[in-house]
Amino acid sequence: MSAKNLKLIKNPLSKENPITVQVLGICSALAVTAQIKPALVMAISVTVVVAVSNLIISLMRNTIPPRIRIIVQLLVVAMMVILVDQFLKAFVYDVSKQLSVFVGLIITNCIVMGRLEAFAMQNKPWESFLDGIGNGLGYGLILFIVAFFRELFGSGTLLGYQIIPESWYAANGGFYYNNGFFILPPMALIIVGIVIWVHRSRNKDLCEN
């Protein structure tokens, strides 16, 4: 793989992260992160949808009339999302129930439309596919970080396994309580805010004026 292609995958992980820098796809990023498992499933679904629709749109980019391109893009994305949704319902039904409407909302996830408009319409299929994978991974990374803290402090578990020793809990004579606040929606926003803070203080050139 050439250095240029490698960059397409590596850049969205940090310097061009879809969530913290490009501000795309926030909605679903926050809603599915109370636990790690749904967050990972969501990240994989988004990666698949972005990569494959980037590939399809890039293949068709010279034949799409510019006036109706949004509708064409929406239809391609909607088709991919239906496939992913049916797949999740068939193989991981409990997670699919947990994600509820947010799988459907990948259609209007700005990452997908944003990358189609900004990248796939101008670039060759293979590069577009890699760009989709990269952006999906960058999105997944933030989802994982947020879900990690929310699940650890909110339920004391990681991926469903107990991390905080049972004997620490006040119910068993210890001193520890789960912080129920981490499960609630507002905490997701605050954690993303802090992630942005840390990320930008390490990369000073990303700061806004």
Binding site: A78, A188, G193, I194
Partner: protein
């Protein structure tokens, strides 16, 4: 009647699109720099929601649901087209937005100039599609309920974006740490607003 009022209040304050479900965050973050523009976008969202959600409700009940096609002939009673709902809903939203843009441009140019750039943006606003998808799971009984639900959700979204825009106008004069400026502080403020909105939890009319 009481049910409808209850639903209306619930969808504005308790099930607020932004603070409870984070829907429509992209345009919420991108367009909330001044109160005036965010008001324009908010009104456009209410408008489109009130039109699309009832249409999608009718589509869902008479075409998509399992057994919904029974009104054509009893043979279709076992057909379940609900897997098509994403593609049909987004097609309705996109075409209504397009239609609305043409109508508004033709009849009220002043409103068109005010909403102008925001109308096409709305087609990909997740709050609109989200309202339709939530509507599917709520099992509404009559056409009145989806209308009230859409109105309430839209107003809730409007309230949130105008609120954050007003705060952002003020915060420009405060001393925020450089890495937090802009996006970071907006997230944290939204979180705090969400906590405030949580105090409405448990209200029953």
């Amino acid at each position: 009647m009481q049910d409808l009022i209850n639903l209306f209040i619930r969808s504005i304050f308790i099930d607020n699109m932004i603070f409870a479900f984070f829907l429509g965050m992209c345009s919420y973050l991108a367009v909330s720099k001044t109160v005036k523009t965010s008001m324009g976008l908010g009104i456009a969202v209410v408008f489109v929601m009130v039109i699309t959600v009832p249409i999608n409700y009718l589509l869902d009940n008479y075409i998509l649901k399992e057994g919904a096609l029974a009104w054509i002939s009893p043979e279709f009673a076992s057909v379940d087209l609900s897997f098509l709902s994403f593609i049909l809903f987004i097609a309705v939203v996109a075409s209504i937005v397009q239609l609305l843009e043409m109508i508004v441009e033709k009849f009220t140019p002043s409103l068109y100039n005010a909403l102008g750039i925001f109308l096409p943006l709305i087609a990909v606003n997740c709050a609109i599609l989200g309202a339709s998808l939530f509507m599917q799971g709520k099992g509404f009984q009559s056409i009145g309920e989806p209308v009230v639900y859409a109105l309430g959700s839209g107003i809730g979204w409007l309230l949130a974006i105008v609120g954050i825009a007003a705060i952002r106008e003020k915060i420009r004069y405060s001393h925020v740490p450089a890495p937090l400026k802009g996006l970071g502080i907006t997230f944290i403020i939204t979180g705090l607003m969400g906590i405030a909105f949580m105090s409405f939890l448990g209200i029953k009319l």
